[in-house]
Structure formats: structure tokens, C-alpha cells
Assembly symmetry: C2
Amino acid sequence: MANGSAQLAALADPTRREVFERLRAGEASVGELSRGLPVTRPAVSQHLRVLKEAGLVSDRAEGTRRVYRIDPHGLAAIRTWLDQFWGLALEAYAREVERGANEADDSRGEKP
Amino acid sequence: MANGSAQLAALADPTRREVFERLRAGEASVGELSRGLPVTRPAVSQHLRVLKEAGLVSDRAEGTRRVYRIDPHGLAAIRTWLDQFWGLALEAYAREVERGANEADDSRGEKP
DNA sequence: ACAGAACGTTAGTCTTCGCTTACCGTAAGT
DNA sequence: ACTTACGGTAAGCGAAGACTAACGTTCTGT
């Protein structure tokens, strides 16, 4: 585990992203999250389960309510995965821009 | 535009992630990508179209072959989206850890 | 000009998944 | 103890999407 598979899959759904982005403002219960969303409460509950299994949110029991918050653990997984590409892609992109701007440096063996 | 919607949706599929991760090793044609994958070549072609529309890859014509590479533009979109949560989540996490263990580590700017 | 290789595209099938309705357990208030 | 609010779970349905097979297009080599 700990690659970004589950996290990326979880954040693919628009409604699930909306729930997740709503938690950016702070902790919230299921009922609070359901209000203002075009889906029913059970749907939100199912989305929260997926987000929780992906390590993107964590829940805490507060009386009869379940308070959800963003879990940085899942976020770190995506960031780690993303950083595997970041350096290489930026490097390649810089080479491309360099080629367009016609810099005096050309040091890469390309096929004819 | 330029939120991470299309990018996250594109990277949700396991096969599409596999194609994308394979491009981390460098440019590759469709045929090269298809070899070693459990799906047919048209499937890879369709996946590449989705990745391209998400700005995650760019293609270049080389004779009769299409060479694909990673496009940092789409990667930047995800990173921007991710950074909206990174600071807040880390901050909240730090508060939580602080409450439990009272750490004395300071990595980023915290807010009063 | 012809043959072959490399890709993109379309139509169609089948699985996956997001949503709702209904039900059940649990904690707090009276 | 009874009632009420809150939320997770199960079953069933409909839509989205991933895959294959077949076809059409474009470029290279002989």
C-alpha cells in the first residue's frame, strides 16, 4: 500500500471531491455535510467510507454524531506519488522550453 | 479551469495509471506501451486520449508512430489542488500531535 | 504503385459504481 | 423507559466507463 492508488481513485468522483473540499473549512458531521449537497445522507456516508479507507479522512465519535476531518496521511500518499513525476517532468519540460528559446546549450542525443 | 478535476478523474483508472507511470521512464510509442500491458492496443489508445485531454501527456508524431510523453501542465494542476489542503491539513495534524506529544519541530509557517 | 506497419476511431457488450429507499443500532433528552 | 436525532448498512436500480473486435487512415520501404 501507500502508493496513491486508493487516494486517486477516491478523489475521482465529483461528489466525493465536494465532500472532501468541504472538510477543508474544518471538521463537520455527516448531517452538516449532507446539507447543501444534491445527494442524500446515506450517499454521503458511503462516500465518507471510501475516503476513510483511502486514509483521506478520519472520524471521531461525538455523542451520536460522527465528526469527520481531513487526514493528512492520505494526502501525503498522493504527494509522494506525485513527486515521483514532478522532478522528471519539470526537467523534461525545461529541456523543451530551452529548445524553443534556442539556448546555446544542447546536450542530448536524440535520434535523427 | 485548471482545478484538478479532469486530472484526478483521469488517474483514477488502474490501467491508465500504469500507462502514465510507464511514461515516467521516458517517451514511448503506443505500441511500446501496449506491450507488457494486459489490454489491447486500442484500449491503450483510448487511455492516452483521456490522459491527453487532461493535460497529463502530450503526443508528437514521429513518422507513423505517435510518441507520448508526460506533460507537466496536468501535473501542476493536481499539485495546485493538493496544496490547497496540504497546509491546512498539516497544520491541523500538527495541532493534534502537539496535543498528544508536544513536539518541538517547526517545518513550515504556522498560523496563530 | 503496392504491401505492410503503426494508430486512431467506432459500435457494441459487460462490469463497475454512485444513488435511493428502507431498515437497524446507538446515544441523548424528557 | 420512551422517544427522538444521528448515522451506518443492505438491496436494487440505472448510468458511466473500460474493454474488444473490426474498420479506416497515414506513413515507410521495396
